[in-house]
């Protein structure tokens, strides 16, 4: 299991960033796909925005943009119906066969 998965298991969302050109490489990799230098791990932002969403049973899920070039699918929770461009906060992450991300809507 690599660092990304190990950190997620511990509740920490880390992403890879190039040591040379500083690009975020996503999905995570040890190798920059722009300049082919090595990457290091750093914590991802914990605030993102909703790009799109839908609902299965009673749970909202959607595509969340965390940073430029970094979008992830996650569960969306909160007391209101999600909206496009709405800000969300990463409340929990884990790894159980797949990564799991839970974002909570930040109410205005």
């Amino acid at each position: 299991m690599n660092k990304f998965q190990n950190e997620l298991k511990g509740g920490n969302f880390v992403i890879s960033e190039c040591t040379s050109c500083n690009q975020v490489v996503w999905p995570p990799s040890n190798f920059c796909n722009i300049c082919h230098n090595n990457t290091i791990w750093r914590n991802a932002n914990n605030i993102g925005k909703i790009i799109e969403f839908s609902k299965k049973n009673n749970d909202y899920f959607g595509l969340i943009e965390i940073e430029q070039n970094l979008k992830v699918m996650g569960k969306i929770i909160g007391s209101e119906t999600p909206r496009i461009e709405q800000k969300v906060e990463l409340k929990n992450c884990s790894y159980n066969k797949t990564p799991e991300f839970i974002f909570e809507i930040i109410s205005n």
Partner: protein, 368 residues
């Protein structure tokens, strides 16, 4: 470049049966031999197998089972567009002069591992295709005010057209109302908006112009090829456009010197209903904001121009066979041999095959 065409084909019926992959590949290949004039094993230079199956060494196994001793043989995997990509490889071998005749056999078994791309960690726990299908659908509704009824029309049309395809998984018609009231998968997808993974195989024989005449009096030529891979991960996609499809079709149209309005018949990769609406726009077959109206008109006038075989929704989706089955349908259409599915006077056809949430697309132009 040499002219390269389709010399023969064969297909199993697509089904939910759990049939060994070797048996499926053999059945469709057997039909190629049975229906292609003057074909013998020694004339086949290459055997390519397109599949997502975990079985090993399938091209060698198929060669042995059919008595072929090819100069070139290997497997090609590219998820849902494995079939058309195997055909591009076969085309390239023939165009280069390394081979003159290549058999391309595609197949997959229900439950094959190609349906979920585990590598794509950006999908999180939502790694099943229904989730990207939901994202595309919701985005289309938002941008074009697409209604549930307009989505259901895609499925109703393709299920209806599949009835006349003897190899399709489904032979049952569904009304728009039945589709709109079918089982809810997500807020944006009903079960009848989804293509169905199944077992099946389809095979074609490609040959260079000189040899093709030996096998058929009604050759169909591959005149345009485009293939574009933008990424493997879904989350890099722009949800409003199948951008890999746009690039692939631009290349295919240019290569064949074809304008989209010259396309008489097209097989479109309708993994979900929304994919057909997106693709007909991104392929230039209609304006993007008129896609729903375009498909509604086809349905109302019983015009089978798009997905005459029933698409993936009606015919089923055995991943490695799908692209080849699409090519067979367009070949039959251009040979005026599609029976009840026939589009009158079809001269140019298009095949559109995608992988992994449209991260990669392949477009082929075929001509009679």
């Amino acid at each position: 470049m040499k002219k390269i065409g389709i010399a023969g084909y064969g297909s199993t019926r697509f089904s939910k049966n759990d049939i060994p992959i070797e048996e499926l590949l053999l059945e469709s290949t057997k039909q190629v031999f049975q229906t292609t004039s003057n074909l013998s094993q020694d004339l086949i230079d290459g055997v390519l197998v397109s599949t997502n199956d975990n079985s090993k060494y399938l091209s060698a196994i198929l060669s042995e089972l059919t008595g072929i001793k090819p100069k070139i043989s290997h497997t090609i995997e590219h998820l849902c567009s494995s079939g058309t990509n195997a055909v591009i490889s076969a085309f390239s071998y023939i165009a280069s002069g390394l081979a003159d005749v290549i058999l391309v056999a595609g197949g997959d078994v229900i439950g094959n591992p190609g349906q979920v791309l585990e590598w794509d960690k950006s999908r999180g726990q939502f790694n099943h295709p229904i989730y990207w299908g939901s994202m595309f659908t919701k985005a289309h509704k938002r941008k074009f005010n697409t209604t549930e009824e307009e989505l259901a029309i895609v499925s109703a049309k393709n299920h209806k057209q599949a009835i006349d395809n003897p190899n399709s998984y489904s032979h049952k018609p569904y009304t728009i109302s039945q589709i709109m009231n079918s089982k809810i998968i997500t807020d944006d997808l009903r079960i009848l908006d989804c293509s169905y993974p199944c077992s099946g195989s389809a095979s074609i024989l490609l040959a260079s112009e000189d040899i093709l005449k030996k096998f058929t009096d009604t050759p169909v030529w591959i005149s345009g090829i485009g293939q574009k891979t933008n990424s493997a991960s879904f989350t890099k996609n722009d949800l409003s456009t199948l951008s890999s499809t746009v690039s692939a079709s631009d290349d295919a149209y240019t290569m064949s010197n074809t304008n989209p309005n010259e396309i008489d018949v097209a097989e479109i990769h309708d993994a979900f209903s929304v994919c057909e609406l997106m693709a007909v726009g991104d392929l230039g077959l209609t304006k993007k904001d008129k896609a729903s109206e375009f498909v509604r008109n086809l349905f109302n006038t019983e015009n089978r121009k798009i997905n005459p075989r029933g698409g993936l929704i009606g015919a089923g989706h055995p991943l490695g066979a799908t692209g080849i089955s699409q090519i067979i349908e367009i070949t039959q259409q251009l040979q005026n041999n599609a029976q009840k599915r026939q589009i009158p006077n079809a001269r140019k056809g298009l095949v559109h095959n995608m992988s992994a949430a449209a991260t990669s697309s392949t477009v082929l132009i075929l001509e009679s």
